[in-house]
């Protein structure tokens, strides 16, 4: 097996090398093989010795042994790219991965043969080990047949220059400008992006934007300037913009709508991600829309397909936002009794909706709105509730422990519910939940099911969003204290957007499927995945 692979190796490699040297187009299989080779080598490069991985064309002493073996039997062992002949794992039905590396110099020298033999022995040893232990090393590169191992998303690896370069290359390919980070980042959060609102992405775009659809540019601007804020509003606006995109879309000749439209949406999503990191609800909406687009049967004409997609989007919003809000209000109103004092934090569209509905159903209660700097979103919540006629009290979060003895329930909104039961919400929510638990006040989180996401997080550091640090500057009586914070080298301003609340502090989650405890979130996710 290995021999024939090795024998084929130089021949195939020869072809490829010849083709490349002659500048001819590589055939499809060759291209695929090349791609797989490159991917494999990159993975080897990343996890093993970072230095001496010479480029493919450079010859290096072939006596470099293969370091660690990929765990699964199916993944072939590949010598460092420098060695001319890679050796497939023994017994592995070579699914064409042990393609010859397109290195020059196909001549098999004695040293190379030795290396080949050694590699084969290592592969044998590895397969024996594998059958003994059958536990995959977590650092191993996932093979094509093991897709469960997930990678870290790029937006939490900003301090890794390789990742940043990769992102820059991807954006360049999609013709999206790269937004540069701003200001000094606090060291604990230096792995996240931090942008300035005064440097919008549009200053690097041409004005009648041709690469990106105008409604997407408008949406990106509205995100980055904070005109569209809140998980629900952002998803609805996103789907609205996608509707415009679909309406203005025409299938290019020789392309299928199902595949081409998805490819068209990718740069838009990168652009929106650059303007403001996507929320979990937006991510789920995008997944849904991509699935719907790929499921369009090929015999549909363009007009039919577009109408169908528009209907799907309307349906999605109707079910997951409008009707879900109605259902959640119905459940939540059961929990609100007359004489209640309800505490809310910030401005959650869902919680406001619930309270307005409850007031319309003639429940007698009063609301305490807790607010925090720098966003001060509670003022907007206060305005909406008072406009309805609900009697409200307004405090800042520093007064929380003074006001909690009066409170009978706490209603919180959520940005996303994570798979381990943690609630991701506006920064300050975990404080509220903690203090409420201390006072034995029940905490109810209201969240639609489309905001449930499969991520797992136990702290607010790993994945978060850093807002513009200049928002923390405030001008009182004509003086801005932090005006020159850039000049003070030891000073960093941190403006976090989200935090995670552990499930021990949350008593109940009210979703459109009913009232569930926080730990049932993975069950809901599993059921949803089964449905799909």
């Amino acid at each position: 097996m290995a021999d024939c692979g090795a024998a084929d190796g130089p021949v195939k490699k020869d072809d490829i090398v010849r083709a490349k040297n002659e500048g001819k187009e590589l055939t499809k299989e060759e291209k695929q093989r090349l791609r797989k080779e490159k991917k494999h080598q990159k993975k080897q490069k990343d996890e093993k010795r970072p230095s001496e991985r010479a480029k493919e064309k450079k010859p290096v002493a072939p006596s470099q042994p293969v370091a660690t073996q990929p765990p699964t039997q199916k993944a072939p062992t590949v010598l460092p790219a420098s060695a001319p002949i890679p050796v497939p794992a023994s017994g592995a039905p070579s699914h064409s991965s042990p393609a010859p590396s397109p290195a020059d110099k196909p001549a098999k020298s004695r040293a190379e043969q030795k290396a080949e033999r050694r590699a084969r022995q290592d592969a044998d040893r590895a397969s024996k080990q594998q059958s003994c232990f059958s536990s995959s090393k977590t650092k191993a590169p996932p093979s094509e047949l093991n897709p469960v191992v997930k990678r870290l998303p790029e937006h939490v690896q900003v301090d890794d220059p390789a990742v940043v370069k990769r992102l820059a290359k991807k954006l360049e390919r999609q013709q999206i400008p790269l937004r540069s980070d701003y200001g000094y980042k606090v060291s604990l959060f230096s792995h996240l992006h931090q942008y300035s609102r005064k440097a919008p992405l549009t200053q690097q775009l041409s004005i009648p934007s041709t690469v990106i659809h105008p409604s997407i540019v408008r949406l990106g601007l509205q995100y980055s300037q904070g005109i569209v804020v809140g998980s629900n509003a952002r998803s609805v606006a996103l789907l609205h913009a996608f509707k415009q995109v679909i309406r203005d879309y025409t299938t290019p000749p020789n392309e299928e709508l199902a595949r081409d439209l998805v490819n068209k949406l990718k740069p838009y999503i990168s652009f929106l991600n650059q303007c403001r990191p996507l929320s979990a609800s937006m991510g789920n909406a995008i997944k849904y829309i991509k699935k719907e687009i790929s499921n369009i049967p090929s015999q549909f004409k363009e007009e039919e397909a577009k109408t169908k997609l528009q209907k799907c989007i309307d349906c999605y919003i109707n079910e997951n936002v409008v009707l879900a809000a109605k259902a959640i209000s119905k459940y939540a109103i059961k929990k609100i009794s007359d004489g209640d004092v309800i505490l809310v934090y910030g401005c959650s569209s869902l919680v406001n909706h619930i309270l307005c509905e409850a007031y319309d159903k003639s429940r007698k209660f009063r609301v305490i709105v807790v607010d925090s700097r720098p966003r001060l979103e509670g003022r907007e919540a206060l305005r909406r509730l008072v406009q309805r006629g609900i009697s409200c009290t307004y405090v800042l979060i520093s007064a929380l422990s003074y006001i909690l003895p009066e409170v009978s329930k706490v209603f919180l909104g959520a940005h996303a519910l994570l798979a381990n039961g943690y609630v991701m919400s506006r920064v300050g929510t975990s404080q509220i939940a903690l203090v409420a638990r201390t006072f034995n006040v029940p905490v109810l989180v209201c969240c639609e099911t489309y905001k449930f996401c499969e991520r797992v997080q136990t702290d607010s550091f790993v994945s978060n969003e850093l807002d513009d640090p200049d928002d923390l500057m405030v001008t009182r009586k004509g003086k801005t204290q932090l005006e020159n914070w850039h000049d003070v080298s030891s000073l960093g301003l941190l403006n976090l957007v989200y935090d995670v609340t552990p499930p021990d502090f949350v008593d109940l989650v009210i979703t459109d499927l009913g009232m569930i405890p926080c730990t049932s979130v993975p069950v809901v996710l599993r059921v949803k995945n089964l449905e799909q």
């Binding site: 919008p200 009648p208 569209v228 952002r234 936002v321 569209s349 907007e380």
Partner: protein, 452 residues
Amino acid sequence: MELQAVLMAAGGGSRMMDLTYNTPKPLLPVGNKPLIWYPLNLLERVGFEEVIVITTKEVQKMISTDPKVKLDVKMKLDLVCIQEDADMGTADALRHIQQKVKTDVLVVSCDLITDAALHEVVDLFRAHNATLSMLMSKAHEFTETVPGQKGKKKTGEQRDFVGVDGTGKRLLFMANEADLDEGVVIRKSIMRKHPRMHIKTGLVDAHLYCLKKSVVDFLADNKSISSIRGELVPYLVRKQFSKSTNSPKVIDETHQNLKKNDSNISSRDEELLHLTQERSCWNDHRGDMSDAYHGGRLRCYVHIMDEGICYRVNTLAAYIEANRLAPKLFDEPAVHPSAVVSERCLIGADSIIGASCQISDKTSIKRSTIGVSTTVREKVKVTNSIIMHGVTIEEGCNIQGSVICSNAVIGRGADIKYCLVGSAQRIEPDAEVNITYHYKSITYNNCHKVSK
């Protein structure tokens, strides 16, 4: 397509007739480039690929035939001609091209020289879904002496009163002194919605407007509006706050009519937009009980530039100032490579020499602009002046603070201070001309002072 650019180049330059009686305003040379090049360059830099240029037949002819007028732009120019004597205002011109307008428009005037970041204006237009978005700049005092004027003349132009809200972006009030009888009148409805208003008078309107397509359609229906700046903009600013009690706003009607013409999809989109605004916890103001934008559908925004160049070349003083500052806007070398400049002449760093010039020995050129194909003979001193194309300056002249228009001939030894010499005029040798406009074809018997 997102925006279409429309360049208004049909104006007559009524405030500087001395310069424009022979050359149409869009083709006046500023820094040796025609005036119309500057807004076209601005649009090209920003990324526009085609521009609709509304101009007169004369200008169109000169652009296509005259080799001295090179536009050097890669964009596609769609020239639309209108009659010169039709006396069309800018709004009339926009109505004229209504059929070509398919999306929102960006209207620019041909006499705008600026290095503003256009994305600021357009971002306001996009983000707030505004009906009008415009550019203004803090006015700078003109420091150069204007030929033909004794001393600094007080600008007889009437002031503009511009009212903006606390953020400085939303346009609340705009009126010209000429339209106000006794004082500034501000309606109570505006004060109730925006209790804090900043009223500014020292602003220059750059005449750069982003208008929604529905405004162009509205213009087509209302033929009484003839000037964008004079009538349309104040109308839109007022309409932001007008109550729609008996009849809906005319512009709203056009909005609604358009929406009805599209299919049901638009109405669903409206619902979605409404849902977004409802769920989003953002408000543009605080302190009262109303929703974002006070529930108004019509919004006007302005971007006020603090720093940077922004000039409208519609008076002689502005023309001279623009000539001083224009070289900063492009990177070409000050002395054109094809100019023949002898080594023994003194050319200051802030002077521009045009193509195919001939500058002879012992000349001194300071803070001046020398046009294309101009001949300057020996021992000439040119200071603070603008020499246009094809001028011949004989030996020993001394030109200070003047504007010499194209194809003029300045005789030997003439001494010209703070004058404006019209096209193809001749100044006799040894004349001493001071502070005058010389554009009549009177030949002087000289050696005496000629002053205004």
